[in-house]
Subunit: 414 residues, 2 copies
């Protein structure tokens, strides 16, 4: 859902966010604006304190040309990532610099009310810590117009969302999670505007603005965790699909007629290659006595074994765990090769816990991806692991919220 009529102000701000540093000349070039038009747009952003002069770049004619960046000190933004196994909160400045973070692991199946309680608690904690650091935040700016007082917040949940209503419609991997009005819940708690998005799309935004996808117009970001999701940018814009449901690579069919999936289908990629599936297979393996190491690592509580335990065991050379991760990663490689043949992204970024664990899963994934990708696509396409660790989605939703607040002019001074 692309906004054809986005204002010059919003588009200029997005360009600066995407490129990190931009000269006035570049702005004019990209939007086909003359010097005067650029000047008007830039002066407004400078006056508002949204951007700052970040340096100078030597232009071709030998003169030094001013470069502009997002003014981080304009305010702070909170991002909360709710998953089946975690609630992660990040407080960043408006340019994405992390000021504080907090995360809580949760057991899959935790009652929804308790998850929302975690969300509220983590949000309040981070925003109150901001009071301590706000002096520091303001202190970073010596700009006229920089207010340092804007506050925005965003929540991302893996699954279908309705961003305009602020509702998380379904999260297949959080039992019972349906039509949860996360925006209202958090807005009541904090009294500031709250954005809502799918976690994989928030990850993709983070990769564009802060990570490996800076300057890349066509890329996909894959969230490899308890579930598997995907966010994508097409021609420089976040793509959400015809009914906001794009990116369900976890529910592409890996094994026709295979195991039943939480989504109601059969043989989905998530049934064999997600953290959830790996944990399920590990549990069975322990019960069947196929891995003493895994049994010892989980100290008899085989029911609570996680994909992270399997990665640890694999790192210690456990053949059963290596085999499990190898099979799972290979399946993801095929699904990604297929998505890549359809979409032709310039870049694929792997995020989430399973990517961060750097286990045999990753190696098998990359090998399988390369083997199954159409040969003509192999030369130009890149596959990389996210440098944002497990905080990518939280950092991404924080900046999406910041951008949305500014574009909608709903900045809340606190």
């Amino acid at each position: 859902m692309r906004d054809r009529t986005a204002s010059v102000r919003s588009r200029t701000l997005r360009l600066i966010r995407e490129r990190g540093q931009v000269s006035r000349g570049e702005i004019g070039q990209v939007f086909g604006m003359d010097k005067k038009g650029v000047s008007l747009a830039v002066e407004r952003l400078l006056d508002e304190g949204l951007v700052s002069v970040s340096g100078h770049r030597d232009s071709r004619v030998g003169r030094r040309s001013e470069t502009l960046s997002i003014n981080g000190a304009y305010g702070v933004s909170l991002g909360v990532d709710i998953g089946a196994t975690h609630v992660i909160g990040v407080l960043s400045d408006m340019a994405g610099v992390v000021l504080d973070r907090a995360s809580w692991d949760i057991r899959p199946g935790l009652p929804i009310e308790l998850i929302l309680e975690q969300m509220r608690a983590i949000s309040s904690k981070l925003l109150s810590s901001r009071l301590v650091s706000s002096k520091h935040v303001s202190g970073r700016s010596s700009l006229p117009g920089a207010r340092g007082s804007a506050v925005s917040a965003g929540v991302c949940v893996p699954g279908f969302v309705q961003p305009d209503a602020g509702v998380s419609l379904v999260a297949e991997n959080i039992p019972g999670w349906k039509n949860v009005p996360v925006r209202d819940v958090l807005q009541r708690e904090l009294g500031i505007p709250v954005s809502v998005e799918d976690s994989s799309r928030a990850l993709a935004a983070a990769e564009l603005w802060l990570g490996a996808a800076r300057g890349v117009h066509d890329f996909i970001a894959v969230d490899l965790g308890y579930g598997i999701g995907m966010g994508m940018y097409c021609d420089g814009s976040l793509y959400r699909g015809g009914s906001w449901k794009a990116g369900e690579i976890g529910h592409t069919v890996a094994v026709p007629g295979g195991l039943p999936c939480a989504c109601g289908g059969n043989g989905c990629l998530e049934t064999i290659a997600s953290g959830k599936a790996i944990a399920r297979d590990a549990r069975m393996g322990i019960q069947e006595g196929r891995s003493d190491l895994l049994r010892d690592l989980t100290k008899g509580s085989a029911n609570a074994v996680t994909a992270q335990d399997v990665a640890v065991a694999a790192g210690m050379g456990d053949p059963f765990s290596i085999g499990l991760l190898d099979a799972a990663g290979s399946a993801v490689g095929i699904a990604l090769a297929n998505a890549a043949a359809v979409l032709d992204p310039s870049l694929i970024v792997l995020g989430g816990g399973l990517a961060a664990a750097r286990s045999p899963y990753l190696h098998a994934l990359a090998t399988s991806w390369e083997r199954h990708l159409m040969p003509a696509l192999r030369a130009e396409m890149k596959l990389v692991v996210s440098g944002l660790g497990v905080d990518g989605s939280a950092r991404g939703i924080a900046l999406m919220a910041a951008q949305s607040m500014v574009e909608q002019g709903t900045a809340a001074a606190s």
Copy 2:
């Protein structure tokens, strides 16, 4: 590769083309323009003869509001679709109304020089027939400014193209077809500007402007023929991918480690579900004596059996042929369910010879697609057969060429 700086003129023209009929009010609404801005843009298009007043629509306040359409009589456009088994040419007016057509079936493996010769011959033939009908074309218009003399042309080839250079880089299913400068070849022949695109993208454009996808922002068009390709619109714009190679659903993996494919990979969808694969399996079936009907239909020339023959035999109840088409269609259904889970299109249009044949292939495809599509996506997504028959790609490239000529201001008066 979206053009962020497309002029108001181009965007307005595209909107009219997409919607068929548009009121001034709608134009203002879509682009956020005031009455005066709309008026300027529309007057210019009317003066140039590119659009015409097509009727009046009752507006809500009871006044009648003028509607605008593409002025077909502005000129003619030629579209040529080169495939592994055909060269199809269509001459249409600027609004897409077909004035003449010609098609030649060719044997897979025909030398490239002969294919290009067919292209030149078909193009000259259609453009000279236009001289006969041009009086008729001009006669349809009573508009000031309508010139009726503009001529554009386009060629589409299945595979990788470089539209800006007018080169068809690779067509896997046309042996030896590499870096063919189709634009130069045809431009030399005709002396008018020539556009070049991938056939599946041309089909998608035809579905948007003339077919089932009118008014749909997010859809995919699948070309099911000797090869299998896909074109897609994302958020209302044709999407070509990061290196112009998007849409290779025919080279997604259907059978890991399966048969070698012309692309250099293994087990691609095309190796089991394309017209080429069906013909190969039919040939083997005849040789193995598994279908007397198919043997009789091909009158002993089993080597020349085509997927169309198999569709005919299936229509006559031949179990072997039915089984073949059923397996092939089912495989396409899974690949399409997977592409749909990733992209979330509102609509999937099935074009090409295998769709037009209405054989068990189609039924198996639809059944398999619905069974393997993520359940949450089933309610809103539509799967339809193209109403444009086998001429979809040729009609699409004709209009893409017309649009491109007008946008680049390279209209050639003939």
